[in-house]
């Protein structure tokens, strides 16, 4: 599985300026909605579901990365977006470090395997410090897409 298989490039937010973690999640879900990836009036329900998941334990996975996520019947395939917080945000990550890169995932309830593979894909690339540093420095959605493509093609070592 590649990052660009499930990241909605139209929904990337390269300069999130959230008030807090909850606001960051709401802005990313809104971006997915605006890009046409969330049908109907499910945006508030999806924000609530992602926040409820965060209550069970932070999705900050280290290296300045968080993967807030939920399974929701509003989507019929795995979809995701990327948000960059250049100043960092407190995400209550286990390592205590701020988060700079957010990958928000929404997957259909029944597709556990794709969800796990998406988490594997994200973590495999983002454990690479070089890729993380390049991504943190990206200022436009186009730069983010190009970096995701380079990562998918194994051009970042």
């Amino acid at each position: 599985m590649n990052l660009l298989d499930f990241v909605c490039t139209d929904a990337i937010v390269p300069d999130l300026q959230p008030a807090d973690k909850e606001d960051a999640i709401a802005q990313l879900v809104a971006s997915l909605k605006q890009s046409g990836k969330l049908p109907g009036d499910e945006e508030p329900a999806i924000v609530a579901a992602v926040l409820k998941r965060e209550e069970l334990g932070s999705t900050g996975i280290g290296n300045g990365v968080a993967v807030p996520h939920t399974k929701h019947p509003a989507v019929d395939r795995l979809t995701a977006t990327v948000g960059l917080v250049h100043n960092g945000i407190d995400f209550a990550s286990l390592d205590g470090e701020p988060v700079y890169i957010m990958i928000l995932l929404v997957s259909p309830p029944e597709n556990t395997r794709d969800h796990l593979r998406a988490l594997e894909t994200v973590s495999r690339h983002l454990k690479n410090d070089t890729f993380c540093n390049f991504l943190k420095q990206a200022n436009t959605a186009e730069e983010v897409v190009e970096l995701l493509r380079e990562a998918d093609e194994g051009r970042i070592s």
Binding site: T59, L116, R117, E120, S123
Partner: protein, 100 residues
Amino acid sequence: MADERNTAAEADAEATRTVTVGSPDGLHLRPITLVTRKAAAYDCALTIRKGDVSADAKAMIQLLTLAAACGDTVTVIGVGPDAERAVTEIADLIAATSAD
């Protein structure tokens, strides 16, 4: 002298256990959080291996790269103080049918 020998033996202690992932959704973020928290409580080095992929049990971002699904087999390896106990506790968490 005896204390020194015990300390040296502890530092060299090794333990390994192979288990089947019990969580119906596999080793997704919640069970991995539990494993990482448990591993962080120990001083020994802890590695979880699935096939050719190895991950530091104290690093969530590495554990996610295992993509271990329900029914997959993984090996927990501990080296250092309390390795036996740490490996047993982590293997039990991975084998639990629900890690919630």
